[in-house]
Amino acid sequence: MTAMTSARPTTGPSSPRARLQAFAHLHRSATIIASMVLITVAMILLPQVPPLSFIQRSDAWYDTFANAGVFILLAMGLNVVVGLAGLLDLGYAAFFAIGSYTYAYSNSPFSHQNLPFLPMLAVGAAVAAVFGIALGAPTLRLRGDYLAIMTLGFGEIVPIMFLNLDKWTEGTNGIGGIFRPEPLPLLGEFTPLSPFAYYILSVMIVTLAMILLYRMQDSRIGRAWNAIREDELAAAANGINTVTTKLLAFAIGATTAGFAGVFNASKLTIVSPEQFLFAVSFSVLAMVILGGMGNIWGVAAGAFVVYLIQIVLLKQLNGIVENLNVPFLTKVNFLDYQYLLFGIALVLMMLFRPEGLFPSQRRRRELHIADELEGPIDEPGVIGSMGETPGADETFNEAAGEDVPGHDR
């Protein structure tokens, strides 16, 4: 008992870092805005100087950053479903597709419509949310694996629908020539040649989404999501309507994907079914896991890093290898192997750092005590040992390195 009391973390802000964290927690939105402004400015300046300026022109960098924003949004949205509410969603790209096609229908020669961008951003998100609810309402009573299979099916159905309903969707060709957003105040004109406006717009959408998602996470609903992830029966027995709460997580995840979809369609100016295959759902899930499930900033950073590796690093690797004229390796196209690299990265991650690169506090705790937790509780006979030294175990795990096997509850 004494060991545990001493191992207990001291509360209250003591170090400057802790004080900063306390401040950030109290003024969440302001902190997010300030950080995003700093990051944005840094990312405007960095591409102008080496080494980034050697790799590609700064405009190309801004373009990459803007595209990365799409994946950051997707990862943050999936994080609500997987990281907060603990529902495995393998068909997340479907909502992305629905958001994209919604914008395509509202702004393309195909549909003879040209509606303003910002309202469509909300409409696209709303349509995706409706589909999220439509999918969730009948199926959220399923648990774990069954829910995952069901979402996998939905993720397959949606692109196939867009592919085969070619009378309304132009099938494989997709809907092309989508109109770019009309010039917005502060951002100026959206043209293919200057991606800067897209970049700023994507930062703004990401910032907004981040603020809103943090608010959800810190609210009564966010607590309920956490409770459901930890113990669904106990959550229900404490007055949480598990069905509506899970449905809400689904809807909010879908809404975020809808935002991403609208932005994506307006930027690429074409939507086609093969943009939304399972590989996208999988990539986003990998981003969430690599970034650190449950931590919004971590997931965003994970998505950014993974996207840059996919898009920039692998391409550069090809160039570097070619320039150095390494025998054998010159014939390898690294882009072809990105999923192999993904797979290896995931395996290594699960072995050495199951909580992700930037874990949420909660996840870290879960993953590093999981084994000690599961066993004793259900058996009254061992109960006496429960109270002994969980704190000591924790320190033991940390001392023994971080290779405690992952355990997802």
């Binding site: 009564r220 409770a227 229900a236 027995a237 404490n238 949480i240 069905v243 006496g384």
Partner: protein, 332 residues
């Protein structure tokens, strides 16, 4: 005893798991502001009975009345519920088809189909959510379905589990705040917009949670993770979490299991205080006879799913059937 003074009435509650009769036709009442204990050997059906009251299991037969409302019983006219879900969208769909046949422009028909689908979705979501208003709506059509665990909490029932089921990776304070979930009103829109209501409720729930922690003797432990608390404190935290929903009836499933005599005495005192100070009615499952005999007003004994005795602790102590259930029948 008048009807109003009974918090809970179980009528001929039976639960079968396949061929096993876990609970057999039990009649049981809990008078207001009393402490009633449920005892019996292992496997007697105590926890099953508890779970039926809490809305986790549906009974095979019988009914539970809680605060003079039938909460759990056989479903009545359950087939009508899906019919109701479909009724409104169906009417809309037929209307759309009619105006389509009558030669309305294509746009109008598409809008009609769209509205029909949305209505279907809305009724599906309402049905799945089963909010209180929806349940009242169903009652008008004579449809009855057993309450779910969260409905029982809203109705005023709090419970703890035999094997502690705290949210281990949340802090003690957060655990209690989760317990308050059904009493808070801020919705997702409040959270998104950070409305005054949301901020006010967050502050209120934190303050109230601190109070409850203090009540159960966990003052200053709010920031600790549930799983880092000593075993006895975890039991207390579970009680605080159950109290957070302002229950009328508190179900405690072996609250002193695995505790040392010291902790047991402390917890017994706490249970007595809950009744005295908060005016709670308490139903207790307990193996520790000292606890049971010390604080119970009435004791009910189950064995093999049947009620074999009921009465004051004194009566139970002398009841030959009870002695037989616990110690076995004398050799012939």
């Amino acid at each position: 005893m008048t009807a109003a003074a009974e918090v809970l009435r179980a009528k001929k509650v039976t639960k079968r798991f396949g061929g096993l009769v876990a609970v057999n036709a039990i009649d049981f009442t809990i008078p207001e502001k009393s402490i009633v204990s449920l005892i019996g050997p292992n496997g007697a059906g105590k926890t099953t009975f508890f779970n039926i009251i809490a809305g986790i299991y549906d009974p095979t037969d019988g009914a539970i009345e809680f605060r003079d409302l039938t909460m759990i019983a056989h479903a009545r006219r359950a087939w009508m519920e899906p019919v109701l879900w479909v009724a409104i969208p169906a009417v809309l769909g037929i209307l759309t088809a009619l105006i389509g046949v009558a030669g309305a422009p294509q746009g109008t028909v598409i809008l009609g189909i769209f509205i029909t689908i949305l209505a279907l979705l809305a009724s599906l979501v309402t049905g799945v959510a089963r909010g209180p208003a929806y349940q009242r709506f169903l009652a008008r059509f004579g449809i009855f379905r057993s309450a779910r665990p969260n409905d029982m909490v809203v109705a005023g029932l709090g419970r703890t589990f035999q094997n502690i089921r705290l949210f281990q990776n949340m802090t003690a304070l957060e655990n209690v705040q989760v317990g308050m979930h059904s009493r808070l009103r801020a919705g997702w829109y409040d959270a998104l917009l950070s409305t005054p209501r949301n901020r006010h409720e967050e502050a209120f729930s934190r303050a109230r949670a601190e109070e409850l922690l203090e009540l159960v003797g966990l003052r200053g432990e709010g920031a600790n993770l549930a799983k880092n608390l000593p075993y006895g404190d975890q039991r207390r935290l579970e009680i605080a979490r159950a109290l957070a929903s302002n229950p009328v009836l508190l179900l405690l499933d072996e609250p002193t299991a695995g505790m040392n005599p010291n902790e047991t005495a402390g917890l017994t005192a706490l249970i007595g205080r809950l009744r005295r100070d908060l005016g709670l009615t308490i139903l207790l499952i307990e193996h520790d006879m000292k606890v049971v005999m010390g604080i119970s007003d009435r004791v009910t004994v189950l064995d093999h799913g049947e009620k074999i005795a009921e009465g004051t602790p004194e009566e139970i102590r002398r009841d030959p059937k009870v002695i037989e259930a616990y110690l076995g029948a004398p050799a012939e």
